[in-house]
Subunit: 472 residues, 3 copies
């Protein structure tokens, strides 16, 4: 395991063993904080925040300074180089030639990946739109581990805005990987995105129960109604054929942690909608925590909070949110030192590798310049300034049905038409396109696959409809 | 005397002896500036500015760096966490878990106190609305002391915007405590607030002369007309029975310092009013300083200046304002090192304690949740985001008449109705409220006192008017 | 040669030998970057950016940190002290008493000079309006030198926005001084300002060819049409009497560097005009670089770029722009260390002084308070807040015709009327003013010269028109 000179863009960039190493080292860093640590002496971190953030930025900057390093920072730079029309890829190249490591927050999803691709130095994603915020997840895992010793087998409820909360997405993936069971309790209208739920089942092999009747029956009015539940395959009680009984058994011992999130009002475009959602937003308070199912439940929150978590909980020993924040500094110290590779001869004692339940999937890449675009308007691949550098690029998550996943923002795309690039090997009348759901997709080699979002694109490239096109 | 781990929110948080220690240490720090001082090596200051400020912030940050420490800063963060609806109490807790000391400027009066209450580390108030700016006062006292050797017995004129200038309020209290006489010369409409003038007489025991005729007669056209004058009890010439003669004697030798302030236009809400005031604003120039009463007078100004202090004064040896600014660095170095407690084994030679003229008053606290609110709309206790954490809280400065002083912003409140919480010890018909100015107030124990801002509040809590309610 | 305690406001503040020393030292600094250099330990740089800039600011701050120094920074402070109406001269005095060196960017032309005049510590101009950006020029020269060994005799084409690009102005002067030939290729409407072209001929003694027919004939359709060409006197091929043949010979071997600049849209006030210019803006791409004249041409750009430099050029080995940016750090390290004088006993090996072709001109100064104002509306001398400190001041570049050059922003002024201050030595009827183009200008001693922008000003001061006033 060697983290030196790597970047952290999504939580999946780290193996379970690497995450455990970071958390282990964080303990050592916490002990070092009051010493005059010189681990990163002479190194410079560029802290680039294209969105306002006080908490996360100061946590990273404090971490670097506690390591003996330096910081240059550019805050709220939306108005700066962007105003001049510069691409973030260019900016990444330049800043990468100044500093030793970059921390970036940006409103575009996938922006941190672009910066990592061009900077030439390690890059840490401090939040890219609603996509990921992997260091928050490291802090969350660190707290779960310190308080509950292990993450495997824990039951964690995710509560509130599951749609826009980037911390939620990174966390859900990590919990699945470490063998936790996840209860999804969104506020109405703020459910987990489909692509994120799908990733849980395709990538981490647990079972996702979403049937409303089953869930209702299983919960029998206990705890709170959940919208979906991810049941880890690591759990001995799982009885795949009897989901409601399985869930009942799961919940008997209560939840281990309730992860509350703020309603990310700023990510909505329509204010009336925001008002509606605000009204129905779920609040966690002392009354809820009197229920016996929460007896041993940690209250977690990535902060800042507004009203969704009552202030009366602050004195409760189960409340972890200020500890989570404080622990961000040693966790980030560990991460920065490992990415910079400055621990050098200092021995990093690595804990025994915790097996992932699944190896990371090796999906085929689709990168043809064929007019298939990411459907997410704030994906970095859809930004005018970036289009000069980067082309749409997808992993093919599934062939039947055909599902593409954007490599930048992980949003999914379900294209309707396909063709094969080897049509010319036959005769001209082979230059045809087909419905993506026809059986022909099995006959096209992945390397030859051409994908079209719409028929007119296929036709514009000289393809004609085959009989496997619906309606022709 | 031990300043370690304490906060500096108002100048009254420091005893006279502690102030003298800081000024004494500032001399040593000035000598150290060009060495590579390592007194605060490894320590981190969080510099949080919710209002724009270049000068004060850079002075603090320079001081910390000169001590060998580090700085993380968040500038103009009004738009950041506040936009997400976070309370400053939450922010204080989080930043307090990152850094070793916090410097905060905030537009809400009392905000620095809230931060100090929750941060868990030393907090320095770098200006909270129009309330206080105690480190500016330390710089002012340092300059007075270096130029005049002592503050006791000095005559200092405060000139310009005495209403909105927070530096003026902190300075007036400090001058009174060190035994100076103060001449108030406001620009029309910008007089000292009543609560600040009252504090001078109730807390520091000097005499406040405000009678226009007396002042006019006493000045006899010499110097400039003053609006009020605080005469220190330390002065041998004070003849309490003959105020005008006393003042004449006082002024015979001229003033020792003229403290000029900028018109704080940005604190006014009504632009036409601002135009009016601007027109009448008093200007200090070479012509004024030709008068013999100013022969030995220092010209002081907290900067930035606009037009109230003529540029032709810059070359005058009596002009101190750029020296004041420069001296801010060693003064703040001394303060930071003392609050961090990092001087450790280095011996701090403490000068003989200069007696305060009065011990700090120990007023009773009023903290009932009874609907009495601070009348200052920009007091931190009146902000929606803070109401979850903090309740209105007052000191009872006087019972007859009844005067409350907000513990956050020091604005005063004169409530009209009172009751006693021991009504139930008698019969139900005892549950009555009275006029605050009735003699009954003497019969209620302070611990039992209930205060209402209005009759309907008393009635809403089930109290009925007694015969000691005017109009009933 | 001693740079300690000096400021760098325009590239002409440095002799050729001093520039060579900086570039030489930059090589040493580049080697030091990964060591823990302590050359400026304990020193503080104040980084004051009144205009947004990420790249330049981070380059300076990185340089200072790599030298072991500290940084305090104030970013986008337009809204801060300026809002309070403070002069930058006051700000300079105060910040000069905190820090050891100041780096300033400001939208007003000449602002950096004012800061240098008042700060009392070394000041570096990081860009003042469209005036100068001398450290960018040092980076450009460094790259030319590293890639081409010498600047003498090079042919450099300046491309794009030659009007608003401050980097272009500083660079053109430096190229002339080091003996390069310059080809001007502006986008339509964005030609070099007249004052800058004039300075090339009056100060650096080369020949400026601007005749369209001559240039057209000389180029014979090769390369690209140029608007003007500065032919260095150092070049052996120069045949002054046959400019077109001379130019043909010059161009035979192609250009050595093409310096591309972004269209500085933000400096235009009229958006429709911006649209027009944008449409015609010249683009440098791979097709252009296939021409044999560019075979050995470096592609340079100060960045950020928008569309004027195609992304397909990035992989071309002739492309230097990212190298230019990266080299900014060691160049600025060298400059900062020299201005701070911290290299001390460390020996700076100084290369043999490269002779300037011309000594810097010693023009007479015109500083009378006579109503002659700089015609540039964004010159610092025309700002209300600065008028208290600074008076218009000019060098008299030429008497016949009369040309004044503003000492702050270098814009030119062609006043129409003159008089002599020794009129009173004669009789009252001598108090007359004359046309600036009359022969009388030769009879007035420079020390006695009075200059008027308009007749009514002369008359307001009691002068009457002489017979040498046109139209009287």
């Amino acid at each position: 395991m060697n983290l030196a000179n790597r970047s952290l863009i999504t939580i999946d960039d780290l193996s379970n063993g690497e995450i455990e190493t970071i958390l282990f080292l964080a303990d050592e860093m916490a002990a070092l904080i009051n010493d005059q640590c010189e681990v990163c002496r002479g190194k410079i971190m560029a802290s680039l925040f294209f969105e306002p953030s006080t908490r996360t930025r100061l946590s990273f900057e404090t971490a670097m300074l506690r390591l003996g390093g330096h910081v240059v920072s550019a805050v709220d730079i939306g108005a700066t180089s962007l105003a001049k029309g510069e691409s973030i890829a260019d900016m990444a190249r330049v800043v990468g030639s100044y500093a030793d490591i970059v921390v970036i927050r940006h409103p575009w999803e996938g922006a941190a990946k672009v910066v990592a691709d061009y900077a030439g130095i390690p890059v840490i994603n401090a939040g890219d739109g609603s996509h990921e915020h992997p260091t928050q997840t490291l802090c969350d895992l660190y707290t779960l581990k310190k308080e509950k010793q292990t993450i495997k087998g824990l039951k964690v409820a995710l509560w509130g805005d599951l749609k826009n909360g980037r911390t939620i997405h990174s966390l859900a993936y990590a919990l699945a990987r470490f063998g936790a069971t996840i209860l999804f309790r969104p506020s109405p209208g703020l459910e987990m995105p489909e692509y994120a739920l799908r990733k849980l089942t395709t990538e981490y092999e647990g079972k996702l129960e979403r049937d409303a009747e089953t869930l209702k029956h299983a919960f029998q009015g206990r705890l709170f109604p959940v919208d979906a539940m991810y049941i880890t395959p690591s759990h001995p009680h799982q009885l795949a054929m009897m989901p409601d009984i399985s869930i009942q058994i799961e919940l008997k011992t209560g939840v281990d942690a309730l992860y509350v999130t703020r309603f990310q009002r700023e990510r909505l475009t329509a204010p009336p909608e925001a008002q509606e959602i605000k009204k129905d937003y779920l609040v966690v308070d002392r009354k809820l925590f009197k229920e016996k199912e929460f007896k041993r439940a940690l209250v977690m929150h990535p902060l800042p909070r507004v009203d969704e978590l009552a202030y009366e909980m602050d004195a409760d020993p189960r409340s972890m949110y200020f500890k989570q924040a404080a622990r961000g500094v040693p966790v980030r110290m560990a991460l920065i030192a490992l990415l910079l590779g400055t621990l050098g001869t200092k021995e990093v004692t690595i804990p025994k590798e915790n097996e992932s339940f699944v190896a990371r999937k090796d999906y085929p890449i689709y990168k043809r310049d064929s007019g298939v675009k990411c459907p997410n308007p704030i994906c970095v691949s859809n930004q005018e300034t970036e289009a000069r550098y980067i082309k749409p690029e997808f992993t093919i998550v599934s062939f039947e049905p055909l599902i593409l996943r954007c490599v930048y923002c992980e949003h999914e795309l379900y294209p309707k038409y396909i063709a094969s690039s080897d049509w010319h090997e036959g005769r001209l009348e082979n230059k045809k396109y087909h419905s993506a759901d026809s059986h022909l997709i099995r006959k096209i080699k992945p390397a030859n696959l051409i994908i079209f979002a719409a028929e007119n694109e296929a036709q514009a490239r000289g393809f004609k409809p085959s009989k496997y096109v619906t309606g022709h």
